[in-house]
């Protein structure tokens, strides 16, 4: 057994080693590409170890390798180590796979970076992969929380990779602070739970939960706090606003962190502790409803975005909420299943979008069009990813999505189920809007970068500087198909998407509930309807996009403003922070300083009043001494 845990540990430590080497050996890091090779080599080894570990834990096998940490008062407060079982090793494989592919892809994508910047990028990448694996394999809440914060840090560092750009720096801060708001909840939840049960250890907690030994009083508050952490990390309403802005980072980063791995940590956490959440059905109901609502909100927002990465970002929010809804319905395995398939095809979509951006030098859909002729391979893999996301049979997202729909229905959540069906329709629509606009529609206007200014409002402006900063404003240099380092990972993911889809079409895993027979036709039908609408609107132009938008007037206008949620946050933030600062300022100026000023004024006037006592004549003092002595004598005698 020990050997199996060691494999998982090796996967973790390879990335840690790569990070330490790159972090300590500054000359190596500044060389750029050699640093990248170190990181990629570690990632490849890590993937191998992860796959072997996954095969070893395919059944019920569980291995734990823990070391004592934080000894306190004769007992151990916490341990560090790995907890490898079927779920965690599967997640490990996903992380290792996407991390490796993204690192290879980045070699081709970030060719215009300077060598030190590239070295810095790969250092962060290694740190991220290590932290994420530490999170996935965490045997207790404490290690999980530490890694949770570490991935948040890496997210901050990588979103702000182009920190010279104000938008990127601001987005990095926004992501950090907003997720931090949820993290505080998570920390409170963990500590409360520890006070409640006396352990951080997941396995021990599980035993307690299975024996009904966890006191239920107050448990709902704790699970809700833990859920808050997931709300921040997995971008649930109302903390979803950081994820679209996080697209300011390099596209491979978006693929790895903000699509496939880190943002799914919240879902993973809830899946990992589903036995705990099962004790508090009220909280689960909140999870389901918030999930379904966020899914719809994000899907609507995705329909109106003109920035290809923002469409994908909102799509990620929407899909994460899908998983959340399934977990809330009580079937976390369905959510986890979708997490895995989504990780593969969303990474594919992001990397595909990266290839498009690399060729067009713009994020804006209005600058694209007819790209299938110039980028035939990218078009194919992107379409595969879109079909997977839409949930078309034989592609990766099909069965997992249907399982989620079945789970919400089986859990008795009819409301969320209806919302999710609408989302399935919208998902297919917005994905194929992108596909038809970018790849199959008529060609873009010739002077693409110049067109962004007039291209349409804010999204276009963001798109313009969201592309390559190196020559974003330069001449319209239109490249062709990307090189092998970028195409390779794309094809690997595309083949995987299809393979997973085909495999699970024939081998149904037991979801633990039965779905009604009409579910599959409805799910597929809504997806096909979405694709059809997108085709009719953006390919055939049979339906005018403007009149379609007009048909949903208020919703369309609201969605363009992101339903005022970002503005609301900004206002609330300004109001809270500025109001609080003003209050504190007033207290400092008038209470703290006031007290001191009054005290000093008193001292001055008291001194002024008392100086007249000092005559300066020696005899007066003698007189005072004599009288004082006399008083003391009399007091001693008669007092």
């Amino acid at each position: 057994m020990a050997g199996d845990g060691t494999l998982a540990l090796a996967a973790l430590l390879l990335h840690a080693t790569a990070f330490l080497v790159l972090a300590v050996a500054a000359p190596l890091r500044r060389l750029g590409r050699p640093a990248a090779y170190v990181s990629i080599l570690a990632a490849a080894g890590s993937l191998g170890a992860a796959v072997l570990s996954w095969r070893a834990h395919a059944g019920e096998a569980i291995s734990r390798e823990v070391w004592t940490w934080l000894p306190a008062e004769g007992q151990t407060l916490a341990t560090v180590g790995v907890l490898a079982d079927a779920d965690s090793t599967m997640m490990l494989v996903l992380v290792a796979l996407v991390a490796l592919l993204v690192q290879v892809y980045s070699l081709g994508y970030l060719t215009e970076e300077t060598a030190p910047a590239l070295g810095r990028y790969y250092t962060y990448q290694s740190l991220f992969a290590f932290s994420m694996m530490g999170l996935v394999l965490a045997p207790n809440f404490l290690q999980l929380f530490i890694c949770w914060e570490l991935v948040g840090l890496c997210s901050y560092l990588l979103i702000g990779f182009w920190y010279q750009r104000p938008a990127a720096a601001r987005a990095a801060l926004k992501a950090f602070w907003i997720t931090k708001a949820g993290d505080v909840g998570l920390l409170i939840g963990i500590v409360l739970l520890w006070r409640h049960t006396g352990t951080f250890d997941l396995a021990e907690l599980r035993v307690l939960a299975d024996n009904g030994a966890i006191p239920l009083a107050g448990l709902a508050v704790m699970t809700f706090c833990i859920y808050l952490g997931a709300v921040g990390k997995s971008a649930q309403f109302p903390l979803h606003i950081w994820l679209p802005d996080a697209m300011e980072g390099p596209t491979p980063v978006s693929a790895l962190i903000h699509a496939a791995t880190m943002v799914t940590a919240g879902v993973y956490l809830l899946h990992r502790t589903s036995w705990l959440f099962a004790l508090t059905p009220d909280v689960l109901a909140i999870v389901a409803w918030v999930g379904a609502f966020t899914a719809l909100l994000a899907a609507v927002l995705a329909c109106v975005q003109n920035d290809i990465k923002r469409v994908l970002a909102y799509s990620t929010v929407s899909q994460l909420s899908y998983m959340m809804a399934a977990i809330g319905a009580g079937f976390s395995a369905a959510g986890f299943f979708h997490l895995l398939t989504h990780g593969v095809f969303k990474a594919l979509l992001f990397l595909g979008a990266g290839a498009v951006i690399h060729a067009v030098h713009s994020n804006d859909l209005t600058d694209m069009g007819g790209l299938a002729r110039r980028l035939p391979q990218t078009a194919i893999v992107f379409t595969i990813g879109s079909l997977s996301l839409a949930g078309v049979p034989l592609f990766a997202g099909f069965l997992s999505k249907e399982e989620i729909l079945g789970a919400t229905l089986a859990g008795g959540f009819v409301g969320p189920f209806v919302l999710l069906i609408v989302v399935a329709f919208l998902t297919a629509f917005y994905m194929f809007r992108v596909v038809f606009l970018a790849f199959y529609g008529p060609g873009a206007p010739a002077a693409a970068p110049a067109a962004t200014g007039a291209g349409g409002g804010r999204a276009a402006a963001q798109g313009a500087h969201g592309a390559h900063p190196a020559h974003g404003a330069g001449t319209p240099h239109h490249g062709g198909e990307p090189d092998a380092t970028m195409l390779g990972p794309l094809w690997v993911l595309a083949v995987l998407s299809v393979a997973i889809g085909v495999y699970f079409t024939f081998v149904h895993p037991d979801p633990g509930f039965t779905s009604p027979a009409w579910l599959m036709p409805v799910a597929v039908g809504s997806a096909v309807a979405g694709i059809g609408l997108a085709w009719a609107t953006y390919q055939r132009r049979a339906i005018d996009a403007a009149s379609l938008a007009a048909a949903f007037g208020p919703i369309y206008r609201g969605a363009l403003q992101r339903f005022w949620i970002d503005a609301l946050f900004e206002r609330a933030y300004l109001l809270a922070i500025l109001g609080f600062s003003r209050l504190i300022g007033w207290i400092d100026r008038y209470l703290v300083d006031g007290v001191l000023n009054v005290l000093s004024a008193w001292t001055v006037t008291a001194g002024d009043d008392m100086r007249t006592m000092q005559s300066g004549r020696a005899q007066d003092y003698v007189y005072g001494v004599a009288v004082g002595l006399l008083v003391i004598l009399l007091w001693v005698q008669f007092g």
Binding site: R611, M613, Q614, S615, G616, R617, A618, Q619, V622, A626
Partner: protein, 99 residues
């Protein structure tokens, strides 16, 4: 005569000295008052030494006399310097430390 008489004498001398210190305007007069007060203490010491049959008090009296001499020397030197600088030895006019 008993101890009482000596103590009374000492108290009287002390009070005379104190009165002198507080009322004399001339600094030399003040110094004389201080001498009287110190000597009243000497009377006390010697009286108790004699009464209790313990020589310690007498030894202390000798010490006090020595110190008194030194004090007088320093005090008079200060008065002479004062006179040189201020051209007066009247205590009322020496109020440099007035607040």
């Amino acid at each position: 005569m008993g101890l009482q008489a000596y103590l009374t004498l000492a108290a009287v001398v002390f009070c005379i000295g104190l009165f002198g210190v507080m009322t004399r305007r001339n600094t030399i007069g003040i110094l004389l008052g201080i001498e009287l007060m110190l000597n009243s203490v000497n009377i006390n010491l010697v009286a108790f030494a004699r009464y209790l049959g313990d020589v310690t008090g007498m030894v202390f009296a000798v010490f006090t006399i020595c110190i008194t001499v030194a004090e007088a020397a320093v005090g008079l030197a200060i008065v002479i310097l004062l006179f040189r600088i201020r051209r007066t030895v009247t205590a009322d006019q020496l109020d440099l430390l007035r607040g």
